[in-house]
């Protein structure tokens, strides 16, 4: 899907909460001491944080970098599977918190872990068609996992906001094209009014994650006539360490292309924030002219792939923290504090 008019990233912001729990601490709780775990530690939201507050933090960072008037934003879309309200738009709360105009379109997107990239595609369409000037697309989650479930060793919290607009000489990067690949594949789901998601274990691999990411990425490369070596970086959704590495190698990418956007070992899987935070980490260091592949994955299932060309990196020395700095700013909590933070103690 190539836009008729090119759309760029005006600015971006990533947010990772300060608290971490070591996965070895989770393993201690459930009698799995000493096992090799794919993730070192995961980011945990504070008790007073949720996907809306983290969306606001990421959006405020993006706006501080952009120095544009928030009243010029025409669309605010939040992709998340941990909406604090089942019914009430998160986008309106973000809009009010950043001082956006009421004359905008706002909605929440849900497609498991790819709600954020859906928001991004929608903004690209609205901007390319000239319907809006700027759009704010956010992917954010407080990843949910049932106590003792495999997921508990990987889920993290965080999100990223992208302020997109028409491509100019000043935009940070621009989108060449995006493709999506979706099928009805029940690999991971959460029924209404249930607190934790369920998953089909090994079925989440080949027919789900790999099939969708590989197809979306191959279709994107075919549409643009690119090969893996045409990209400097590749960022995939990160439910664990193995999947993005394997998907990358299946598609012909090298570990070097993948490693910079691979945040899972120290962040965890921030669901709708996962691939987008990986993109933020890459944009923090990428140089003009470099090309980035981004492929999200949402269970249920689908993948959105994007080809992004870096134009500018104007952020050296600015006061907004880089992802690498946010990952280093941390406070460890134990499992008991973790369950309190994540609302797993019901009282």
């Amino acid at each position: 899907m190539k836009p008729e008019r090119l759309v760029g990233i005006v600015s971006y912001g990533g947010y990772i909460p300060i608290y971490r729990v070591k996965t070895s601490e989770i393993a201690r709780m459930w009698g799995r001491d000493g096992e090799t775990l794919q993730t070192e530690e995961v980011a945990v939201a504070a008790m007073d944080e949720d996907s809306v507050t983290m969306a606001v933090e990421a959006a405020r960072y993006a706006l501080k970098r952009a120095k544009i008037n928030p009243k010029e934003i025409g669309a605010i879309y939040v992709g998340s599977e941990s909406k604090p309200y089942a019914v009430k738009s998160s986008g309106t709360i973000v809009a009010e918190a950043i001082g956006a105009s009421p004359n905008i379109t706002a909605a929440d997107f849900e497609f498991a872990c790819k709600g954020g990239t859906e928001a991004l595609q929608t903004c690209i369409g609205l901007i390319a068609s000239g319907m809006i000037k700027y759009g704010l697309a956010i992917g954010v989650d407080t990843g949910q996992a049932a106590p003792s479930d495999e997921l508990e060793y990987t889920v993290g919290c965080g999100g990223a906001a992208f302020l997109v607009g028409p491509k100019t000489d000043e935009t940070v990067a621009y989108f060449e094209a995006s493709t999506s690949y979706v099928t009805d594949t029940p690999d991971f789901w959460r029924r209404a009014e249930r607190p934790y998601p369920s998953h089909a274990r090994r079925f989440t691999g080949e027919p789900a994650y790999f099939r969708h990411i590989v197809n979306a990425t191959k279709n994107l490369m075919a549409e643009l006539g690119y090969k893996p070596e045409d990209f400097d970086y590749a960022v995939f959704h990160q439910p664990n360490l193995k999947f993005p590495l394997k998907a990358g190698l299946m598609l012909g990418f090298t570990r070097k292309q993948l490693e910079h956007g691979l945040l899972i070992p120290s962040l965890g899987n921030a669901y709708a924030g996962s691939a987008l935070l990986g993109l933020v980490a890459v944009l923090d260091v990428a140089k003009p002219g470099q090309r980035i592949l981004l492929a999200s994955y949402g269970s249920g299932s689908g993948s959105d792939a994007f080809s992004i060309v870096v134009q500018n990196n104007p952020y050296r020395g600015n006061p907004i923290p880089f992802i690498s700095q946010m990952l280093k700013r941390k406070k460890y909590i134990d499992y008991a504090q973790y369950v309190k933070h994540r609302g797993k103690i019901v009282f």
């Binding site: 300060i18 504070a46 008790m47 007073d48 944080e49 949720d50 809306v52 507050t53 606001v56 933090e57 405020r60 604090p84 309200y85 709360i93 009010e96 918190a97 001082g99 923290p321 700095q325 700013r329 406070k331 309190k340 009282f347």
Partner: protein, 133 residues
């Protein structure tokens, strides 16, 4: 707990830290006022406060928190002196009570303030956290 309309009336002030400034004498207020306490003028305008400041004084709430704050204990409540000279009463987050010090530089953050039970509205608003180093 605030009723939905009462919370709604204060949303923009609480989310974005907006106070009021007297057009006659220049005094800045937070929360906002309709009448200037210094010169009596009724001509005040919205004023966006600075998002950075330092802790002037603080206390730690450990027992008997107000309704809706029970799960937060122990938590820090401070008077934050903003860069524009205005004092704001706020919770301080992302820091343990033992680490808080008078003079500590802090910045604005957006957090849940209170939940009206499992079925009521979620009240969001400003808090402060130590400045990112």
């Amino acid at each position: 707990m605030l009723s939905a309309p009462r919370y709604w009336r204060e949303i923009r002030y609480r989310y974005r830290l907006i106070g009021s400034r007297c057009l006659k004498c220049g005094k800045i207020y937070f929360p906002r006022r309709l009448v200037c306490a210094v010169c009596g003028s009724r001509k005040l305008e919205d004023y966006k406060l600075s998002e950075k400041g330092k802790i002037k004084t603080f206390t730690v709430i450990r027992r008997s928190p107000p309704l809706g704050y029970e799960k937060n204990v122990p938590y820090v409540v401070a008077v934050v002196e903003l860069e524009d000279g205005v004092n704001v009463l706020s919770q301080i987050v992302d820091v343990s009570p033992e680490e808080v010090k008078i003079g500590m530089p802090v910045e604005l953050t957006f957090r849940k303030v209170r939940e009206n039970g499992k079925e009521g509205i979620i009240e969001y608003g400003f808090k402060f956290r130590p400045i990112f180093e």
